[in-house]
Amino acid sequence: MADPMKIRANVVGDSTEVKVLMSHEMETGQRKDAQGKVIPAWFIQNVRVVHNDKVVLAAQWGPSVAKNPFLSFKFKGGAKGDKIRITWVDNHNDTRTDEATIA
């Protein structure tokens, strides 16, 4: 199980701004180690953000996303106290879900 995400969600006007810092190696599969062996790919493939049982963001990622990815986006609606739930799944089928309260 990976380290928890850091999530910040704030109401800005009539929308909600969400910032997420995920903790993940995001290995591309292109790098080689000191022995010349390819380091196997290991990266997040799917990201879903759910607000009140409604998906507000769904993304498919590839190996070009940096290590410990930072994601920032806005969606219409959302009120103080609402919960948002963020889930990622990587290519090892490892997954992590974290929840945050909109402030």
Partner: protein, 315 residues
């Protein structure tokens, strides 16, 4: 960041020493007041010496951080445009070291010192001690070093153990996250030059070409009630920069004050003429070197100086 802090400390020592050794020779500076020393003396040491009273919570720190710090350092301290504050813990010994405040600092008290000394970048030293404690707590929380509910004060900050407590190195560039050092600065331990010979220096003709710099330095004068008499006039003349070109007993570029006094000894109108001459400038009387107008000197000071000169320029 460390070299800045150390540099500051070193500079302070150097200033302190040179002020003590050369004060009489160059007549520079003055003894600082207790309040001034207190304002400068803000260093916090690894053992916590110098930490002020106060306390701050992670939650307070987050509010402050979002308002004053996040625009440069990123919401989670992740921005590498400036100094990344969080992340990279445990990577220093790897082939891809990530140097951040959290991963490379060896003492949390240094973080407090740095924030108090230098942050926010556009308005350093504007934070209260409580705010610095709160921000320190929040940055430590970003690195998962203290829990989200933590409240830091002097004792608890000293007790924080940074992940890199025993791994601090100086073998990399200090100024930039990815930098390489300017020099390894390794002391020569064998096969060293026995006698260092100076092989080049300022050529003879260039030595002393600026005269005595000490005499041309603008001197600091303590704010005080206007004194009277010769001592006050000399101080005023030094402060106004007269001594850059004039000596009391010996001429430099302009005439000596005693010679001026002698020349106008029996001239009743000399005072008014010389006051005008100081204010507007002149040349031709003592040689071709012109004296520029001294409009920056207050009229009362000019009159006092001229009176003192015409009175014989005595002590």
């Amino acid at each position: 960041m460390f070299n800045w802090v150390e540099g500051l400390v070193a500079a302070a020592f150097a200033l302190g020493l040179s002020a003590g050794a050369d004060a009489s020779r160059y007549d520079l500076g003055r003894t600082p007041t207790t309040a001034e020393i207190a304002a400068w003396d803000i260093d916090v040491r690894p053992d916590g010496t110098g930490l002020p009273d106060g306390r701050g919570s992670v939650a307070d720190g987050q509010r402050l951080y979002d308002a004053k710090c996040a625009s440069c350092h990123g919401t989670f301290g992740e921005s590498t445009d400036y100094m990344a504050l969080a992340g990279g813990v445990g990577t220093l010994a790897s082939d891809q070291p990530v140097r951040t405040t959290g991963s490379k600092l060896n003492y949390a008290t240094t973080l407090f010192d740095y924030i108090r000394r230098a942050m926010p970048f556009n308005a350093p030293k504007t934070l209260t001690n409580d705010e610095v404690y709160a921000l320190t707590a929040y940055v430590l929380n970003l690195n998962d070093i203290v829990p989200a509910g933590a409240m830091l004060d002097r004792a608890s900050l000293i007790a924080v153990k940074m992940p890199n407590r025993d791994g601090f190195t100086r073998q990399h560039g200090m100024g930039s996250v990815r930098g390489t050092p300017d020099t390894r600065a390794k002391a020569c331990m064998h096969d060293c030059v026995a006698n260092v010979r100076v092989t080049s220096e300022l050529p003879e003709y260039a030595k002393g070409s600026h005269g005595d710099i000490a005499l041309q330095t603008a001197h600091w004068i303590a704010p005080q009630a206007p004194a009277s008499g010769s001592a006050a006039a000399i101080a005023t003349a030094k402060g106004a920069g007269c001594m850059a070109c004039h000596g009391v007993a010996k001429g430099v570029i302009g005439p000596a004050f005693v010679d001026v006094a002698r020349k106008y000894a029996d001239d009743a109108g000399a005072e008014a003429r010389l006051v005008r001459k100081v204010e507007e400038g002149g040349s031709g009387v003592w040689g071709s070197a012109p004296m520029p107008g001294q409009a920056h000197v207050p009229a009362a000071d000019v009159r006092a100086i001229v009176r003192w000169i015409l009175g014989g320029a005595g002590d």
